[in-house]
Amino acid sequence: MKFNISCQEASQLVSQQIDQPLSLMDSMRLRAHLLVCKACPVVHRNFKAIHQAGLKYALRDEAAGGACPGLSSGAKGRIAKSLRQEKGSGDTGQL
């Protein structure tokens, strides 16, 4: 495989590197490309920002109130009922 890679290939490696270590060869290809390319180092930072945003987004609603409503009252009722049944069957007569 050739040593010089395109921006498309480099951006794939940038994404891959967020998830797992690159092979030595891929790592060298990417580093060489990032040294000579103007665009890809920017993409590198932007992909990393998307990665960080993903981590934050997962746990974000507590802080912000969130656009997604919580459980509907119907669902809450159903879940509470199933929990009470399970608790009733598992407990040895407490309360």
Partner: protein
């Protein structure tokens, strides 16, 4: 009884009241379907009830419950991936976002438009409007891309775990995550970075 306080702390009604909505929203981000999200929350609380003796006081209840929820979400997606195969034809890796790649890169694989820096991520994350844009862009991903992205980024699974759950090869996993990130990047640039209102009050 000497362990009354501990049993109180593990009262399932209290869990539902204190954590139910947050668990539901976390599940919705992965499953994007309220019936499935309600089911996994119920399964999570039932599993927590059965395992409440294992709850160690050194973790927060929310963290403990979220850990169980992540496993329940992964189990559901694993089951679905084996029923209707996630990777069933030549579409995979070439389907929904091939057009996007064709728009972004020329024939030699170089970026068609200049790439612009986004600035300081921490400052960006402070702005509600960024998160509105992120939510819209994430919701716009195809189910395949959003499922892979959510398991990797929201649940924090490794590539190996992700491939096993989705029942696809490691290289395919990487391609799907790449396409998800590329689609999010493109969408964020048009809906957030190109929006003159973005620095307005939020």
């Amino acid at each position: 009884m000497h362990n009354d306080s501990r049993l109180h702390a593990a009262d399932p009604d209290e869990w539902l009241e204190a954590h139910g909505d947050a668990l539901f929203r976390f599940a919705m981000k992965h499953l994007r379907d309220s019936a499935s999200a309600e089911d996994v929350v119920q399964e999570t609380l039932l599993a927590a009830l059965q395992a409440r003796d294992e709850f160690a006081g050194n973790a927060s209840q929310r963290t403990w419950l979220t850990g169980i929820l992540k496993r329940k979400i992964a189990d559901l997606i694993r089951k679905r991936s084996r029923e209707a195969t996630f990777e069933n034809d030549a579409q995979d890796g070439h389907g929904d976002s091939t057009e996007l790649t064709a728009c972004l890169f020329d024939q030699r694989g170089e970026w068609v438009v200049p790439q612009r820096a986004w600035g300081d991520p921490d400052a960006m994350f402070e702005q509600n409007r960024f998160w509105e844009a992120f939510t819209c862009c994430y919701d716009g991903l195809s189910p395949k891309l959003s499922t892979a992205f959510s398991l990797r980024e929201f649940s924090g699974l490794s590539i190996e775990e992700l491939c096993e759950i989705l029942n696809i090869s490691s290289s395919n996993c990487s391609v799907i995550l790449y396409r998800a990130r590329l689609a999010l990047k493109t969408c964020l640039e048009s809906s957030w970075f190109d929006n003159p209102m973005r620095r307005g009050p939020s």
